[in-house]
Amino acid sequence: MTKIHADIEALRGLRETLARFRYDQRDARYRGEGEIEVTRGELEARASSALAWLERCRVELDACREASASSGGSGASASSASSASSDDCLGYERAVAEAQERLERVRRWQQRVEQAASVFYGAAMGFRDLLENDLPRTEEQLLDMITSLEAARRVQAAGS
Protein backbone atom coordinates (compact mmCIF):
# COMPACT_ATOMS: atom_id res chain seq x y z
CA MET A 1 0.00 0.00 0.00
CA THR A 2 1.49 3.34 -0.94
CA LYS A 3 1.34 6.17 1.57
CA ILE A 4 -0.94 8.18 -0.65
CA HIS A 5 -3.67 5.54 -0.25
CA ALA A 6 -3.21 5.06 3.48
CA ASP A 7 -6.08 7.42 4.28
CA ILE A 8 -8.41 5.53 1.96
CA GLU A 9 -7.38 2.21 3.46
CA ALA A 10 -7.88 3.58 6.98
CA LEU A 11 -11.37 4.85 6.13
CA ARG A 12 -12.21 1.56 4.49
CA GLY A 13 -11.03 -0.27 7.60
CA LEU A 14 -13.12 1.99 9.79
CA ARG A 15 -16.20 1.42 7.67
CA GLU A 16 -15.70 -2.34 7.72
CA THR A 17 -15.29 -2.30 11.50
CA LEU A 18 -18.52 -0.33 11.86
CA ALA A 19 -20.40 -2.70 9.57
CA ARG A 20 -19.11 -5.70 11.50
CA PHE A 21 -19.99 -4.02 14.77
CA ARG A 22 -23.53 -3.37 13.55
CA TYR A 23 -23.85 -7.01 12.54
CA ASP A 24 -22.41 -8.32 15.82
CA GLN A 25 -24.70 -6.11 17.86
CA ARG A 26 -27.86 -6.86 15.85
CA ASP A 27 -29.32 -8.89 18.74
CA ALA A 28 -28.35 -6.31 21.36
CA ARG A 29 -31.94 -5.38 22.08
CA TYR A 30 -32.71 -9.00 22.98
CA ARG A 31 -29.86 -9.23 25.45
CA GLY A 32 -31.07 -9.04 28.98
CA GLU A 33 -34.68 -9.75 27.95
CA GLY A 34 -34.33 -13.50 28.44
CA GLU A 35 -32.67 -12.98 31.78
CA ILE A 36 -35.38 -10.54 32.85
CA GLU A 37 -38.04 -13.11 31.97
CA VAL A 38 -36.25 -15.87 33.90
CA THR A 39 -35.93 -13.70 37.00
CA ARG A 40 -39.54 -12.50 36.71
CA GLY A 41 -40.70 -16.12 36.57
CA GLU A 42 -38.49 -17.13 39.47
CA LEU A 43 -39.67 -14.24 41.65
CA GLU A 44 -43.30 -14.91 40.81
CA ALA A 45 -42.85 -18.54 41.82
CA ARG A 46 -41.19 -17.45 45.06
CA ALA A 47 -43.96 -14.93 45.75
CA SER A 48 -46.60 -17.65 45.23
CA SER A 49 -44.69 -19.98 47.50
CA ALA A 50 -44.28 -17.28 50.17
CA LEU A 51 -47.98 -16.40 49.94
CA ALA A 52 -49.01 -20.05 50.29
CA TRP A 53 -46.75 -20.40 53.31
CA LEU A 54 -48.16 -17.22 54.84
CA GLU A 55 -51.70 -18.53 54.43
CA ARG A 56 -50.75 -21.82 56.04
CA CYS A 57 -49.15 -19.99 58.95
CA ARG A 58 -52.26 -17.85 59.39
CA VAL A 59 -54.51 -20.90 59.42
CA GLU A 60 -52.30 -22.51 62.06
CA LEU A 61 -52.25 -19.34 64.12
CA ASP A 62 -56.04 -19.05 63.95
CA ALA A 63 -56.35 -22.68 64.97
CA CYS A 64 -53.99 -22.13 67.88
CA ARG A 65 -55.90 -19.09 69.05
CA GLU A 66 -59.18 -20.93 68.84
CA ALA A 67 -57.74 -23.85 70.77
CA SER A 68 -56.31 -21.50 73.39
CA ALA A 69 -59.57 -19.64 73.70
CA SER A 70 -61.44 -22.93 74.15
CA SER A 71 -59.09 -24.22 76.82
CA GLY A 72 -59.10 -20.81 78.53
CA GLY A 73 -62.88 -21.01 78.96
CA SER A 74 -62.73 -24.27 80.89
CA GLY A 75 -62.11 -22.95 84.38
CA ALA A 76 -58.94 -20.86 84.52
CA SER A 77 -59.20 -17.18 85.39
CA ALA A 78 -59.52 -14.73 82.45
CA SER A 79 -56.04 -13.20 82.88
CA SER A 80 -54.17 -16.47 83.14
CA ALA A 81 -56.11 -17.83 80.15
CA SER A 82 -55.12 -14.83 78.12
CA SER A 83 -51.47 -15.20 79.06
CA ALA A 84 -51.50 -18.90 78.25
CA SER A 85 -53.12 -18.14 74.91
CA SER A 86 -50.43 -15.69 73.78
CA ASP A 87 -47.63 -17.93 75.03
CA ASP A 88 -49.03 -20.98 73.27
CA CYS A 89 -49.38 -19.18 69.96
CA LEU A 90 -46.19 -17.13 70.07
CA GLY A 91 -44.40 -19.49 67.71
CA TYR A 92 -47.26 -19.30 65.21
CA GLU A 93 -47.28 -15.51 65.43
CA ARG A 94 -43.57 -15.42 64.71
CA ALA A 95 -44.09 -17.76 61.78
CA VAL A 96 -46.77 -15.44 60.35
CA ALA A 97 -44.49 -12.41 60.76
CA GLU A 98 -41.63 -14.21 59.08
CA ALA A 99 -43.83 -15.38 56.21
CA GLN A 100 -45.10 -11.82 55.73
CA GLU A 101 -41.54 -10.50 55.68
CA ARG A 102 -40.57 -13.08 53.04
CA LEU A 103 -43.50 -12.18 50.85
CA GLU A 104 -42.82 -8.44 51.20
CA ARG A 105 -39.16 -8.95 50.39
CA VAL A 106 -40.02 -10.81 47.20
CA ARG A 107 -42.52 -8.09 46.25
CA ARG A 108 -39.89 -5.38 46.84
CA TRP A 109 -37.40 -7.21 44.63
CA GLN A 110 -40.06 -7.65 41.96
CA GLN A 111 -40.47 -3.86 41.91
CA ARG A 112 -36.72 -3.30 41.74
CA VAL A 113 -36.42 -5.74 38.84
CA GLU A 114 -39.18 -3.91 36.96
CA GLN A 115 -37.43 -0.57 37.55
CA ALA A 116 -34.08 -1.94 36.38
CA ALA A 117 -35.75 -3.55 33.35
CA SER A 118 -37.37 -0.24 32.44
CA VAL A 119 -34.03 1.62 32.62
CA PHE A 120 -32.38 -1.11 30.56
CA TYR A 121 -35.11 -1.04 27.89
CA GLY A 122 -34.62 2.72 27.55
CA ALA A 123 -30.88 2.34 26.97
CA ALA A 124 -31.41 -0.65 24.66
CA MET A 125 -33.92 1.31 22.55
CA GLY A 126 -31.51 4.22 22.18
CA PHE A 127 -28.76 1.86 21.12
CA ARG A 128 -31.06 -0.01 18.74
CA ASP A 129 -32.06 3.27 17.14
CA LEU A 130 -28.41 4.11 16.64
CA LEU A 131 -27.71 0.68 15.14
CA GLU A 132 -30.68 0.69 12.81
CA ASN A 133 -30.71 4.33 11.71
CA ASP A 134 -27.58 6.32 12.56
CA LEU A 135 -24.92 3.71 11.93
CA PRO A 136 -26.01 2.82 8.37
CA ARG A 137 -25.98 6.55 7.56
CA THR A 138 -22.50 6.87 9.04
CA GLU A 139 -21.30 3.96 6.92
CA GLU A 140 -22.86 5.56 3.85
CA GLN A 141 -21.07 8.80 4.59
CA LEU A 142 -17.75 6.99 4.92
CA LEU A 143 -18.39 5.19 1.65
CA ASP A 144 -19.09 8.51 -0.05
CA MET A 145 -15.82 9.90 1.27
CA ILE A 146 -13.89 6.83 0.17
CA THR A 147 -15.45 7.03 -3.29
CA SER A 148 -14.63 10.75 -3.56
CA LEU A 149 -11.04 10.20 -2.46
CA GLU A 150 -10.60 7.33 -4.91
CA ALA A 151 -12.04 9.45 -7.72
CA ALA A 152 -9.74 12.35 -6.83
CA ARG A 153 -6.72 10.04 -6.82
CA ARG A 154 -7.66 8.65 -10.21
CA VAL A 155 -7.85 12.19 -11.57
CA GLN A 156 -4.48 13.01 -10.00
CA ALA A 157 -2.93 9.84 -11.40
CA ALA A 158 -4.32 10.51 -14.85
CA GLY A 159 -3.05 14.10 -14.77
CA SER A 160 0.47 13.26 -13.60
Binding site: A6, D7, E9, A10, L11, G13, L14, T17, L18, F21, D24, Q25, A28, R31, G32, E35, I36, T39, E42, L43, R46, A50, R102, R105, V106, W109, Q110, R112, V113, A116, A117, V119, F120, G122, A123, A124, G126, F127, L130, D134, L135, T138, Q141, M145
Partner: protein, 71 residues
Protein backbone atom coordinates in the same frame (compact mmCIF):
# COMPACT_ATOMS: atom_id res chain seq x y z
CA UNK B 1 -14.42 -21.54 23.39
CA UNK B 2 -15.83 -19.84 26.47
CA UNK B 3 -18.76 -17.63 25.58
CA UNK B 4 -18.22 -14.06 26.66
CA UNK B 5 -20.87 -12.27 28.65
CA UNK B 6 -22.35 -9.54 26.44
CA UNK B 7 -20.98 -6.79 28.69
CA UNK B 8 -17.48 -8.32 28.62
CA UNK B 9 -17.85 -8.87 24.90
CA UNK B 10 -19.01 -5.26 24.66
CA UNK B 11 -15.77 -4.00 26.16
CA UNK B 12 -13.92 -6.08 23.60
CA UNK B 13 -16.08 -4.62 20.82
CA UNK B 14 -15.44 -1.13 22.13
CA UNK B 15 -11.72 -1.84 21.94
CA UNK B 16 -12.08 -2.89 18.30
CA UNK B 17 -13.97 0.30 17.50
CA UNK B 18 -11.37 2.44 19.24
CA UNK B 19 -8.53 0.70 17.41
CA UNK B 20 -10.24 1.26 14.05
CA UNK B 21 -10.87 4.92 14.85
CA UNK B 22 -7.29 5.47 16.06
CA UNK B 23 -6.01 3.98 12.84
CA UNK B 24 -8.30 6.18 10.72
CA UNK B 25 -7.43 9.28 12.77
CA UNK B 26 -3.75 8.78 11.99
CA UNK B 27 -4.47 9.55 8.34
CA UNK B 28 -7.63 11.59 8.48
CA UNK B 29 -7.17 14.93 10.20
CA UNK B 30 -9.19 17.51 8.32
CA UNK B 31 -12.32 19.41 9.33
CA UNK B 32 -14.47 16.58 8.04
CA UNK B 33 -12.69 14.17 10.37
CA UNK B 34 -13.37 16.45 13.33
CA UNK B 35 -17.05 16.67 12.36
CA UNK B 36 -17.20 12.94 11.94
CA UNK B 37 -15.74 12.44 15.39
CA UNK B 38 -18.10 14.98 16.95
CA UNK B 39 -21.34 13.99 15.25
CA UNK B 40 -20.91 10.28 14.57
CA UNK B 41 -18.07 8.73 16.48
CA UNK B 42 -18.56 10.20 19.93
CA UNK B 43 -22.36 9.62 19.99
CA UNK B 44 -21.85 6.03 18.85
CA UNK B 45 -19.32 5.37 21.57
CA UNK B 46 -21.43 7.07 24.24
CA UNK B 47 -24.61 5.26 23.24
CA UNK B 48 -22.86 1.91 23.24
CA UNK B 49 -21.22 2.66 26.60
CA UNK B 50 -24.60 3.64 28.11
CA UNK B 51 -26.12 0.45 26.79
CA UNK B 52 -23.32 -1.68 28.25
CA UNK B 53 -23.57 0.09 31.61
CA UNK B 54 -27.35 -0.41 31.69
CA UNK B 55 -26.88 -4.08 30.85
CA UNK B 56 -24.32 -4.49 33.64
CA UNK B 57 -26.60 -2.73 36.16
CA UNK B 58 -29.53 -4.87 35.07
CA UNK B 59 -27.49 -8.01 35.62
CA UNK B 60 -26.48 -6.87 39.09
CA UNK B 61 -30.13 -6.31 40.06
CA UNK B 62 -31.27 -9.64 38.59
CA UNK B 63 -28.54 -11.54 40.41
CA UNK B 64 -29.25 -9.72 43.67
CA UNK B 65 -32.99 -10.40 43.30
CA UNK B 66 -32.39 -14.12 42.89
CA UNK B 67 -29.90 -14.21 45.76
CA UNK B 68 -31.88 -12.09 48.23
CA UNK B 69 -35.16 -13.97 47.76
CA UNK B 70 -33.70 -17.43 48.12
CA UNK B 71 -35.26 -18.86 51.30
Amino acid sequence: MTELRPDDDGDYQLGLLDAAWDQAALHWRDEMARDFERYHWTPLRQEFRSYLDALARLREVLEAAERETEF
